[in-house]
């Protein structure tokens, strides 16, 4: 429902919808997020304080982060969604397909010391239709109990089911596993996405996956890999670093392999035909205040996208280690890190998906013989 901007509209609105409580309906903001401990950290850092300050209720809708789901919801022009938490590749693609609304960086609050937002955010954080709020990482974690002797340490070990037997849980999506599969051949990170752009590169990557296919368990809900590891159902799993960390603080013997972690931006965006874009902007401005961002990091170790938020981080209450050392962007985790090429991701989405589906169905990504160059 569009918020009345002029008096006549307001009057008309009141006349047309009597007594059914339009005010109450207006005062709800629908935020789309990823559920689980991540959503809990958002509830503490953003949603509850926002409700308290504005009196507007935040309703959370959970989704799996896939672009197709996003498009299905936004395409028909009639959505309840107001603010979406999405990865940068989807932000780029959604923007170029006109599904998302451009955001003026001037709505963002300055740092406490007065540094304008444009300078306070890390480089590349202010996209045309999205504001990057944090850096998260897709990593491999393993169950300590599965490997009482030698521990897996490199990405090659993920595919070595001889030395490190056991099931592997992977996200059912043609991302991250493709990078890791090709990297396991020893290709340089700088050339990774160029090589994955060739038919030969994709072929090699899927061949590697095919080798361990029998051992793969697929997950779709981001909370699942940590649970699978904790319950001992799989020996290794791909997943987001924050989820694994949280599971570990609950007492599960889970260790993260930081080798070749894949870093990506997560961002706030607003649907192009949002009912209440001003309210959505108000929320994004609220949630990107350095103090709010730092608060979230205290509950899940993702790197905040503002320098001023970074400076507010101290010790983790549970581990008594500096929070910054748990972040994927900590210096000692960056040695072999890969920055996900979100541009490449956004532009190859359909191609990767087709290969992935072919491979799932036939065991060969190029069965439909239309493959890339």
């Amino acid at each position: 429902m569009k918020r009345p901007e002029a008096l006549p509209a307001l009057v008309l609105g009141l006349l047309l919808i009597p007594a059914s409580g339009p005010a109450a309906e207006d005062e709800t903001l629908t935020v789309v997020s990823w559920g689980g401990v991540y959503e809990e950290s958002q509830r503490i850092a953003y949603f509850d304080p926002f409700e308290e300050e504005t009196g507007i209720e935040v309703e959370v809708v959970e989704y799996d982060g896939n672009f197709e789901g996003l498009r299905r919801e936004l395409e028909n022009g009639d959505t309840e969604w107001d603010v979406i938490d999405l990865v940068s590749a989807n932000a780029r693609r959604g923007c170029s397909e006109g599904l998302l609304r451009p955001i003026d960086p001037d709505i963002l609050p300055p740092a406490p010391d007065g540094t304008p937002a444009r300078e306070d955010f890390i480089e590349g954080a202010l996209l045309r239709c999205a504001v990057v709020q944090l850096v998260f990482s897709t990593v491999v974690a393993y169950d300590e109990r599965a490997f009482p002797g030698e521990k897996p340490t490199t990405i090659e070990d993920l595919f070595d089911t001889q030395r490190f037997p056991g099931k592997r849980a992977f996200r059912k999506m043609p991302g991250a596993i493709l990078e890791w599969a090709l990297l396991s051949y020893g290709v340089p990170r700088s050339q990774l996405y160029d090589l994955l752009s060739t038919r030969r590169g994709m072929d090699l990557a899927f061949r590697r996956l095919q080798e361990i296919r029998e051992d793969i368990v697929w997950w779709q809900d981001p909370g699942e890999p940590a649970r699978l590891l904790a319950e001992g159902e799989v020996a290794m799993a791909s997943g987001f670093n924050g989820r694994f960390f949280e599971e570990r603080t609950q007492g599960s013997p889970i260790s993260i392999i930081w080798d070749n972690q894949i870093l990506d931006y997560d961002a706030w965006a607003i649907p192009a035909n949002s009912d209440q874009p001003e309210l959505a902007e108000q929320f994004i401005a609220f949630a990107t205040q350095p103090e709010r961002m730092a608060e979230q990091v205290r509950h899940i170790p993702y790197g905040p996208s503002r320098h001023s938020a970074m400076r507010r981080l101290g010790l983790d209450e549970r581990t008594l280690a500096p929070i910054t050392s748990q972040l994927p962007t900590a210096e000692h985790h960056l040695g072999t890190a890969i920055w996900e090429d979100s541009e490449w991701y956004a532009r190859t989405e359909a191609f990767r998906q087709r290969l992935f589906d072919n491979w799932l169905a036939e065991g060969d990504p190029f069965t439909d013989s239309k493959g890339g160059s």
């Binding site: 051949y185 090589l195 060739t198 490449w344 532009r347 359909a350 239309k370 890339g372």
Partner: protein
């Protein structure tokens, strides 16, 4: 004071040339990468359009074809020599101390080379980059700094910086400049080229943080007997290199014999590349991706490797022969690494013992094909070391490289550059002095004050003249000054004194003209008996001077002495 001045000037000049050449090299690479993206040559650009195969197909054929047309027009219309320039042009200028082609022509050539690579022509990028560096060096040499023979050093600086930047390999850049361009070792040249190479490295690494070109993991050669295979691989690679070079020369000959205007020839080669690329996209451009996949076990089937080696050899020869400006280095790397991978695969499959995997054979092959083509064994060995930072790989590659060079040198020549220069009349096998002697004109040294007489003079009158002069010879000309013959004391003694000079003279068996070099003069004078050979104008036959043997010998001594001094000078 003089020494201090020279050291300061050379240091500043080498830093300036190093900076400019390095920036130019980075600009060149960026321009090519951008064009590759725009023209759908780069796999990354092609994959975006993979849902529209017709578009990709059209781009694959049209980019190199139309690129060839534009390049052909650029070269034939905008460059006075009507062709692109490559490292041999820089080598020639340095070795013979002749000027480089003009800066403007050089820039057009570099631009055409970037366009060729950008459009996917199967040529190399390091040759044009080295030439770009040489050109910037030559520009520096034109400054009036009061230092003798600055051109060679300055060009060396530019090339060293360009190669250092391109490969992220400063030592290789420095060695390449010495091995291929300067062809001698002296502290005078070594110091500035080192400074320039280091400057290039700083720009490539520190300022722009460019990634290393090539990284592979290799644990070491596991079995000592494999060194025999590295040597054998080197010998086989020599034959691949020779076939590649011969085919380039053959394509050049074919192109020269064609009636089609030069401007349209690259287009034909481009069309061939486009058609082959429909099936084998790896043949386009530099082929970074294929270069990387070749070191991965199982990335290519054996027949694919063989097919790609053959296609790359033929298409590169066609592109270079038909006038695409570009280098031979990158194609050699690709041909070599694919062949090396094939060799490694065959050895692993048929030999009754274990091998250390495909990587080492691929790298050995890469360098063993490249080294004889550019004639720089030391450079290629150091390139391996600097690119892979692996000592065991370098030792293995070293063995392959020397055997490849030995065989190719015997059967073909030192390098494609030297053979191309030989075709243009410059024999670098004769050493630096030989090259300078062949490019120093006799006219600079000839004697213009010599005894001459008219054809109508009687021998009697000449007899009197002979007594007064120190020469035993007279040169006979007609009224127009045209040379008729030489008359010696013996002729005058043997003939009647009424006889005229025109009747008695004998045409010298050795006659030089303005184009005769000191080298040619030396060769001709070996069997010459007489006081001096005449030098006559090639246009109108007028006698313009004479060349006594002593003049030729002193010219030779001058040049060698100066070279020795240059090679022993510190700054």
């Amino acid at each position: 004071m003089q020494a201090l001045y020279r050291i300061t000037v050379l240091a500043l000049l080498s830093i300036a040339i190093g900076t400019l050449a390095s920036l130019a090299a980075i600009g060149f690479v960026e321009l090519v990468a951008w064009l590759n993206d725009v023209l759908l040559v780069a796999p990354r650009a092609r994959i975006v359009w993979e849902t529209r195969p017709l578009l990709v197909m059209a781009a694959t054929i049209l980019a190199p074809t139309l690129g060839g047309l534009v390049v052909g027009l650029m070269l034939s219309r905008l460059i006075s020599q009507g062709r692109g320039f490559t490292p041999p042009d820089a080598i020639l200028a340095v070795q013979t101390r002749t000027p480089m082609p003009s800066f403007r022509d050089g820039m057009v050539s570099s631009l055409a080379a970037a366009l060729s690579l950008g459009a996917g022509a199967s040529v190399g990028q390091y040759g044009p980059m080295a030439y770009l560096g040489a050109q910037i060096g030559a520009l520096g040499a034109r400054l009036n700094l009061g230092i003798a023979h600055l051109q060679g050093v300055a060009i060396g600086c530019g090339v060293a910086a360009a190669i250092s930047t391109a490969f992220n390999a400063p030592i290789a850049g420095l060695v390449f400049a010495h091995e291929v361009i300067l062809r001698h070792y002296s502290l005078r040249a070594f110091a500035p080229t080192t400074v320039a190479a280091a400057t290039g490295y700083v720009f490539a690494n520190v300022v722009f943080e460019r990634e290393p070109l090539f990284t592979v993991a290799f644990e070491g050669v596991k079995h000592s007997y494999e060194f025999v295979f590295f040597a054998l691989e080197g010998i086989l690679c020599a034959f691949i290199a020779i076939a590649f070079m011969r085919l380039i020369l053959a394509c050049q000959n074919l192109s020269d014999r064609m009636s089609l205007p030069f401007a349209f020839r690259p287009m034909l080669a481009g069309l061939a590349v486009g058609l082959v690329a429909l099936e084998l996209p790896e043949v386009m451009g530099i082929g970074y991706e294929a270069l990387r996949f070749a070191t991965i076990e199982g990335a290519f089937a054996g027949y694919e490797l063989a097919l790609l080696v053959a296609a790359k050899i033929v298409l590169t020869a066609l592109c270079l022969g038909f006038g695409f400006p570009g280098g031979v280095f990158s194609p050699s790397l690709l041909i070599g690494i694919l062949f090396g991978a094939l060799f490694g695969m065959i050895v692993a499959q048929f030999a009754p013992f274990h091998t250390s995997g495909i990587v080492v054979y691929a790298i050995c092959g890469m360098m063993a094909v490249t080294s004889p083509v550019i004639g720089a064994p030391l450079t290629t060995i150091i390139v391996v070391f600097e690119l892979t930072r692996s000592y065991p790989l370098t030792i293995a590659a070293m063995v392959s490289v020397v055997f490849a060079n030995l065989v190719a040198f015997r059967l073909f020549g030192r390098s494609i550059f030297d053979v191309q220069l030989l075709k243009r009349g410059c024999d670098l096998a004769r050493g630096r002095d030989g090259a300078i002697l062949s490019h120093t004109c006799l006219t600079d040294y000839m004697v213009t004050d010599y005894p001459r007489c008219d054809r109508k003079d009687s021998l009697g009158s000449l007899r009197a003249r002979l007594r007064e002069q120190s020469w035993d010879t007279l040169f006979v000309t007609d009224a127009a000054g045209q040379y008729l013959g030489t008359i010696t004391a013996r002729h005058i003694l043997e003939q009647e004194s009424e006889c005229t000079a025109g009747e008695a003279c004998v045409r010298s068996p050795v006659i030089f003209d303005e184009t005769t070099s000191i080298r040619a003069a030396m060769d001709s004078l070996v069997d010459f008996l007489g006081e001096a050979a005449p030098v006559i104008s090639a246009q109108d036959g007028r006698l313009i001077g004479v060349a006594p043997e002593g003049v030729v010998i002193s010219a030779y001594l001058d040049i060698s002495r100066e070279l020795r001094r240059e090679e022993n000078e510190a700054a």
